[in-house]
């Protein structure tokens, strides 16, 4: 039972990662790409972490996984914000590269 749940969660997480990657490759500019990347990847990572946590044997491990997810989500959101801010400020005098 737990195995099926974990498999379902992990697969769902991978689908989100796939969507984020497709968005990163297909969207036209930095802002939409960031949007695809951070949102989809944070959700994907959350689902993946949940899937692994279901399989974890001890609650310490579950806490550790939760902490990892929280830190990764925080770091990636703030990094996204900084990249977007930089892009906004420098858009005028730097041409967008392909």
């Amino acid at each position: 039972m737990t195995h099926w749940m974990a498999a379902l969660l992990i697969t769902a997480g991978l689908v989100f990662f796939l969507a984020g990657t497709v968005g990163l490759l297909r969207f036209p500019d930095a802002f939409t790409r960031l949007h695809a990347l951070t949102k989809a990847d944070n959700t994907g990572l959350g689902l993946l972490a949940a899937g692994v946590a279901v399989l974890a044997l001890t609650w310490q491990l579950v806490l550790l996984i939760a902490l990892t997810w929280l830190l990764a989500a925080m770091a990636s959101s703030i990094a996204c914000h900084l990249v977007a801010r930089h892009g906004l400020h420098h858009d005028n005098h730097e041409e967008t590269r392909e």
Partner: protein, 312 residues
Amino acid sequence: MMVFDSLLALIIAALAWRCVTVRDLFQAIVTFIVLGLMLALSWTRLDAPDLALAEAGIGAGLLGVLLLSTWRVVRDAGPDQGEGPPPSPWVRTAAAVGSIALGTAFAVVLHTVEVDSDRAGGLALESLGEAGVEQPVTAVLLNFRSYDTLLELGVLLMALIGAVLLRSPLIHRPAAEDTGTESPLLPVLVTVFTPLVLLMGTFLVWAGAHSPGGAFQGGAVLAGAGVMLVLGGRLGGDAQVSLLLRALLILGVSVFTVIGLLLMPLEGAFMAYPEGLVYPLMVTIEFSLALSIGLTLLLLFTGTNGLRGAPA
């Protein structure tokens, strides 16, 4: 798992090819960082978690930061910096033929190599009980082959001294606009993450005695915390190097050497440790190594002689 390994190997080869051939310098650097992370992944598959940690932290993380900060200098200098004439098609063809031959020969040799079970590593694993630490790689680095590690630290220190000597009097500092201090979220990131990263670095050093980790991995993580403080504007480069900083930079080498020399009369050999004291000595050496390594790497990043706290 064969499918996964093959895919990973393919990704590694493709990333290396892209890193070498892509036109844009920035893309080459980013590809190099991703290549480092993929290598770390493959090394965990090959039972080398220590090296995966080191590659991800030092090879991809810190070296990536160093490469990117140098890229900024190259970019600011204009498009024609360092560009010689492109090599002629003949050179390209010759290089391609040569490297394909080299790669093929290497692959063939690697597939026919006979691995002998009579080896130094077996001896190291057998005498692990005398090493004072349970982690074989740490035991080899700090006990069985401690000369290597001492000299390696010397090389790291020499690299820093060389970089300091090369520094022009005009100190290059990251421009204020690029540090992003104006963002309200950045202080949050720095405040929340720095203690956690420091904790993780310390843990990695301590864990080196019995599980993957060690002075180099931990030192790299400590340096990462420093890089974050610098980028967040909490720590700045300084033209003056304080006495304390100098002392910390040579702490690793000196502690290593002093302990080795002090115990010589007792043990009769340089860097031989008495049996009961091995564990505390190792931990002392490892923490001082990690501090020196972290600071050296941080100073290589800031490109300045010293450090000072910036007013928040």
